[in-house]
């Protein structure tokens, strides 16, 4: 009984520290807040079911990122099959500042950015998203994805190159 209580407390601590990470990973795939919260919630539920089997608890964040990423990809494919969320950008735009003209421009920039991110292959997109959230460096991304750091570096380079080609007009402003 005590072991179960300890397990519950430990998972609660992991939930508090990793909730934003899981949400952002899902958001980086889906571009939709509600879908991202649903996927992150399901990812935490799945992680909870198998939490006792996780031998190295220090690798919880990496484990959670991979679970969330896979579930978000599945949700995105299901959305595409249903024809929903064809445009990943929703009404929420972090670049909006209240000015209608600026908001419209920010909305347009955000839409172009998301389309460029969506056009990336999955392996390039995941390193791009992880590099953009929570200030992850190359070694942290390597740990989270369990791939060599050199691979992460090459994928980041290829992703940046592809994004710059697509967003040249945005960067040159």
């Amino acid at each position: 009984m005590s072991a179960d209580a300890d397990l519950e407390r430990e998972f609660e601590a992991r939930l508090v520290e990793s909730s934003t990470l899981a949400f952002r990973v899902a958001y980086g795939v889906l571009g939709h807040r509600q879908d991202a919260e649903d996927v992150a919630q399901e990812a935490f539920t799945k992680a909870y079911r198998s939490f006792r089997q996780l031998r190295d608890r220090e690798r919880f964040r990496a484990w959670l990122v991979r679970i969330t990423w896979r579930m978000a990809i599945d949700r995105r494919r299901a959305n595409i099959r249903r024809g929903a969320h064809e445009a990943p950008v929703e009404d929420f735009d972090p670049l909006a500042d209240g000015n209608p003209e600026k908001d419209a421009a920010a909305q347009e920039r955000s839409a172009h950015l998301w389309r460029a991110i969506d056009a990336l292959p999955e392996k390039l997109r995941v390193v791009t998203v992880l590099a953009a959230i929570e200030g992850h460096d190359m070694m942290e991304i390597s740990t989270l994805l369990d791939v060599p750091a050199g691979t992460v570096k090459w994928r980041l380079f290829a992703a940046r190159k592809a994004l710059q080609e697509k967003l040249q007009w945005l960067i040159s402003r």
């Binding site: 179960d4 397990l7 519950e8 998972f11 609660e12 939930l15 508090v16 909730s19 934003t20 949400f23 952002r24 958001y27 980086g28 807040r33 991202a36 919260e37 992150a40 919630q41 935490f44 539920t45 909870y48 079911r49 198998s50 939490f51 006792r52 089997q53 929420f92 972090p94 670049l95 920039r109 955000s110 950015l113 998301w114 991110i117 791009t128 998203v129 590099a131 953009a132 959230i133 940046r160 994004l163 710059q164 967003l167 945005l170 960067i171």
Partner: protein
């Protein structure tokens, strides 16, 4: 080079801003509620994952035991005592009993597949004794023994042999020895017959 660095910085900033979103304030609370409806996390060998194989093994063992107990015991060749009982004289009641009608033993027709490599059923041959005496001969022997025991047949070996009855043996007819005349030659030649 400087332009490239500036481009990277602009792109990184745009990406950070695009992904700088936070979940709704009640997100963690909803996750807690969702998890609370889940059963407590268990180990690999707990719950049904532990008890299902144990129950399956116990059921299999019980079935095997039941089959083993219900199996017929190996039959000892009981046909021999039956034969002895059949040959044994019946209880003397003073009245002559009719001769028994022999019941022919159930002899299975020989299988054409019997032999090396035959796949036909051969279990019955292990349970029946080999037939060494024909049924007629066996029946006759039983009748003979039964009647001898009842005194209907006197088996007396006191008849003396013919040599002990005395007297000389005389031939039934006397046969004279055969005589053959010698051949007489005429004029130096044999007799033409």
């Amino acid at each position: 080079m400087a332009d490239q660095q500036m481009n990277d910085d602009v792109l990184d900033r745009a990406l950070r801003e695009a992904l700088d979103v936070a979940p709704s304030p009640d997100f963690v609370a909803r996750v807690r509620t969702r998890i609370a409806s889940e059963p407590a996390p268990r180990g690999v060998f707990s719950g049904w994952m532990l008890w299902t194989p144990i129950a399956a093994c116990a059921t299999a063992a019980a079935i095997a035991l039941a089959v083993w107990i219900g199996r017929p015991a190996p039959q000892v060749r009981q046909a021999v005592p039956e034969r002895v009982a059949a040959v044994a004289p019946p209880a003397s009641t003073g009245t002559p009993t009719p001769p028994e009608t022999p019941t022919p033993p159930a002899v299975r027709p020989p299988s054409p597949l019997r032999g090396y490599g035959a796949t036909g059923p051969t279990v019955a041959s292990h349970n029946e004794p080999e037939i060494l005496i024909s049924p007629e001969e066996s029946s006759a022997l039983r009748r003979l023994i039964a009647r001898a025991s009842e005194g209907q047949i006197v088996v007396n070996d006191s008849t003396p042999p013919a040599s002990e009855l005395g007297g000389e043996t005389k031939p039934l007819a006397e046969i004279e020895p055969l005589k053959i005349d010698p051949i007489v030659s005429v004029n130096g030649e044999g007799v033409r017959q």
